[in-house]
């Protein structure tokens, strides 16, 4: 008798989809934006991303091996993606030790202390970023700008992000017409010739990756589209009321982390709702909070905070926005 016959319950076949494949699809989707960041920031973007990735994987390995003494899961691709996404949300030229601290917070605190992949409530990369932002506000808001710096990593010229320029300008009483010469054009925003975190440069490259993820069915359109539409509608209303005080919706969508957040951060499978109805509610929440922070808050940008705040509501959303049960509230014809 050769190998024994296996008895198991149905189904006896499985789709080719695996968690690992989904992780690698996310990885491929990030390539265009990564290439843009290297083009804009040169070697410093490469260093930043490498440090974040290596330290995320290393921390996961060390903590699982020596602290938790559990199975090592560094090959599932999730730590790799956390590293890249963390790097994408940081300014180029950030001191290396800060990147390492951010990685430790992302992996150690936001992911593993909750139980590892699948159990974390908050997006690990965003927790890492926000921790750095509130701890080291000066370094975290020094944005090296422009392509002219791509050959050097020492003498970077720093400047504000487009959202920062607007926030500051409006605070000192300037009007949008006066500010419009200081901010990048729509085309520049699309291509990524602007200041900001390394991954949020080119809206076009990010859209490309986002569409790839939707086509590969790793994410659905619900979160990104709802979030961006909500932002456009809300900023649109303010802009229509007073175009001198508020930037137009297109600027709000293309500047800052809106596209990166909508396609790559808010859609994180683990920390977003599991039903389509829930996803819509979740994304509306993110859109509203982002706009409120951008227009009225102390920070020029609010995508990270908005996503983390809505992450906290995900269990609640999952409880109250369930799929419609088949046959619910249907009356029988038999009397």
């Amino acid at each position: 008798m050769a190998d024994p016959i296996i008895i198991s319950a149905s189904p006896h076949v499985h789709s080719a989809r695996t968690s690992k494949k989904m992780m690698y699809d996310v990885l491929y989707a990030l390539i265009p934006a990564f290439l843009v960041s290297i083009y804009v920031f040169g070697i410093s973007a490469l260093i930043l991303t490498s440090v974040a990735v290596i330290s995320c994987i290393l921390f996961e390995y060390l903590i699982q091996k020596y602290l938790l003494k559990t199975e090592i899961t560094i090959t599932d691709g999730s730590a790799l993606i956390t590293g890249i996404l963390l790097a994408f949300n940081l300014p180029s030229g950030l001191p290396i030790w800060m990147i390492i601290v951010g990685s430790l917070i992302a992996i150690g605190v936001a992911k593993l202390s909750f139980g590892g992949l699948g159990y974390n409530i908050f997006n690990p990369a965003l927790v890492g970023r926000v921790f750095l932002l509130v701890s080291f506000p000066i370094q975290m808001t020094s944005w090296p700008t422009g392509i002219e710096n791509n050959t050097t990593i020492v003498d970077v010229v720093t400047g504000a992000t487009p959202l920062g320029i607007i926030k500051e300008g409006l605070m000192y009483g300037e009007t949008m017409t006066e500010l419009s010469t200081k901010i990048p054009s729509t085309m520049e925003l699309l291509l990524g010739i602007t200041g900001g975190s390394i991954g949020e440069m080119s809206a076009l490259a990010l859209l490309l990756g986002g569409i790839f993820l939707i086509v590969r069915k790793v994410i659905t359109w619900h979160i990104p589209v709802t979030m961006l539409v909500t932002m456009a509608v809300m900023t649109g209303i303010f802009w229509l009321v007073n175009p001198e005080q508020y930037a137009d919706p297109l600027f709000h969508l293309l500047a800052g982390g809106a596209i990166l957040g909508a396609f790559f951060m808010a859609t994180d499978l683990v920390t977003s709702p599991m039903t389509k109805k829930g996803m819509v509610i979740f994304a509306i929440g993110i859109g509203i909070i982002t706009v409120v922070i951008r227009l009225f808050g102390a920070y020029p940008e609010g995508v990270s905070f908005a996503i983390l705040i809505m992450n906290a509501f995900v269990p609640l959303i999952n409880t109250y926005f369930k799929p419609r049960r088949f046959g619910n509230n249907i009356k029988s014809k038999i009397v």
């Binding site: 050769a2 190998d3 024994p4 016959i5 296996i6 008895i7 198991s8 319950a9 149905s10 189904p11 006896h12 076949v13 499985h14 789709s15 989809r17 695996t18 968690s19 494949k21 989904m22 599932d76 590892g116 992949l117 699948g118 159990y119 499978l269 683990v270 920390t271 977003s272 709702p273 599991m274 039903t275 389509k276 369930k322 799929p323 419609r324 049960r325 088949f326 046959g327 619910n328 249907i330 009356k331 029988s332 014809k333 038999i334």
Partner: protein
């Protein structure tokens, strides 16, 4: 746009290798093993004894109650044993062992039933014949057909749906039957329409069987009451509730039956059995079985006598190939893995699927990454990840309030889970406990 059910579903690799293989007749085996529990409901009661001589089609076990069915001898021969034997369910069940009389020619003749269109029987007799002939749902559920047809207040049933979907990958038994017995199937439908005063019938067929759609449309062209609906290929469209939704857009209420929305659903195989029972007084003693697998060279469809050991079928296609690790009674999505090939073909055996090393073992289950795929594909609008969690933690009352009992066990959730979690295993377990709790309460 082809019709289909709106919520959930998956599209596994079809692998219908035997679509073009005409149904071959298996010769009667030397010995048949006839289990007395081949249907859902109460097992039948044995009415023969050791050493009894039996004829083809003679009742060997009679219906044990309302939801039960007669069982007939598939061969002429001698009862040699009344034995306990492992059947396709994996449990030991009582079984009638009959040795085929090699000299009796009736055992080896091909039954000759020319097309008989005229329906002469009255309604009462039709229903009685269906009951007496031991006909059960041949799609795999094996629910006694006469129970479905027992309409206490029949005036609200206005549509008969014929299930020719065959959404299970690999299986082609219904497909071949539709191609080869289209006229008989149409007469079978007319018989039921006549018996139940139904004036509309729709045959639902998935569009990967375009030839069957064409053949049945042609066969039904003289009867404007019978329509053929080509459906988009999507699993589990063969499930009654999904099929009714796809064809009529009617939704069976939670915990209800097709009758609640004025529909009766029968599988094409069942319809053919009804045709034979009513027109030729032929009880259900044989059925079409697809014997297939990726490594099976001579995979084909067969007319098989109930009680034939699966071993004989496997021999017919060239034996088990090297590296066989799993044998499934039925299709890959809902079929049952069996321990060996000694078990017999029963009324519910629509196919024998042989799976090799590559696909037989499950992959290791990983953490749930909360991707929501199981929720998206569930055709019943359930949350499989949640139901698994609740069953695993023993929170059965909550599982019940999350509608665990409405799960149709189609397996789409386990099929699609990227972390290979055994969702359906736990849901089945939860269902079994909830069922026990409910019985205890009443």
């Amino acid at each position: 746009m082809l019709k289909t059910f709106p919520k959930g579903g998956v599209h596994p690799e079809e692998n219908k290798f035997t679509s073009s293989k005409a149904i071959k007749r298996m010769s009667a085996p030397k010995v048949v093993y006839v289990p007395i529990a081949q249907h859902i409901g109460i097992p039948s009661e044995i009415v023969v004894d050791r050493k009894d001589k039996v004829e083809i089609g003679q009742v060997v076990a009679k219906s044990g109650g309302f939801v039960s069915s007669n069982i007939h001898s598939p061969v002429a021969g001698t009862v040699t044993k009344l034995d306990m034997m492992v059947d396709t369910s994996g449990y030991k069940k009582q079984c009638i062992v009959i040795r085929t009389d090699q000299k009796n020619e009736a055992n080896f003749e091909e039954p000759n039933f020319p097309l008989k269109k005229e329906i002469t029987m009255n309604q009462k007799d039709i229903l009685q014949h269906i009951k007496d002939s031991g006909i059960v749902g041949l799609g795999g559920a094996t629910f006694p057909s006469h129970v479905k047809l027992d309409l206490k207040n029949d005036n609200h049933v206005d549509c008969l749906i014929i299930n020719g979907v065959e959404c299970e990958p690999y299986l082609t038994a219904d497909h071949r039957l539709m191609l080869e017995k289209a006229d008989e199937i149409i007469v079978g439908i007319q018989i039921l329409m006549h018996a139940l005063h139904i004036h509309e019938a729709v045959i639902g067929i998935e569009n990967n069987k375009k030839d069957a759609v064409a053949v049945l449309k042609k066969a039904a062209k003289d009867d404007s009451r019978i329509k053929v609906a080509a459906l988009k290929v999507k699993y589990p469209q063969g499930s009654e509730k999904q099929l009714i939704k796809a064809i009529l857009k009617r939704e069976v209420p939670k915990g209800g039956l097709p009758m609640d929305v004025g529909v009766i659903v029968h599988n094409v195989g069942t319809i053919f059995a009804i045709y034979q029972a009513v027109q030729y007084d032929q009880p259900l003693i044989e059925r079409v079985v697809t014997v297939t697998g990726k490594k099976i060279e001579n995979a084909s469809n067969f007319w098989v006598k109930i009680g034939t050991p699966i071993k004989d079928l496997v021999e017919e296609v060239g034996g088990l190939p090297e590296g066989t690790r799993k044998i499934v009674n039925g299709g890959p999505m809902m079929g049952k893995a069996i321990k060996n090939t000694d078990v017999p073909v029963t009324k519910g055996t629509s196919g024998i699927l042989v799976i090799d090393e590559e696909e037989a073992s499950r992959q290791e289950a990983k953490n749930c990454i909360r991707c929501g795929q199981c929720v998206f594909v569930c055709p019943m609008g359930l949350e499989p990840h949640l139901l698994m969690n609740l069953s695993e933690k023993g929170l059965y009352e909550r599982a019940a309030s999350e509608d665990v009992m409405t799960c149709i066990e189609c397996g789409s959730c386990s099929y699609v889970c990227p972390s290979h979690r055994p969702l359906l295993d736990y849901i089945r377990f939860g269902k079994s406990i909830v069922k026990k709790l409910n019985t205890a309460k009443n």
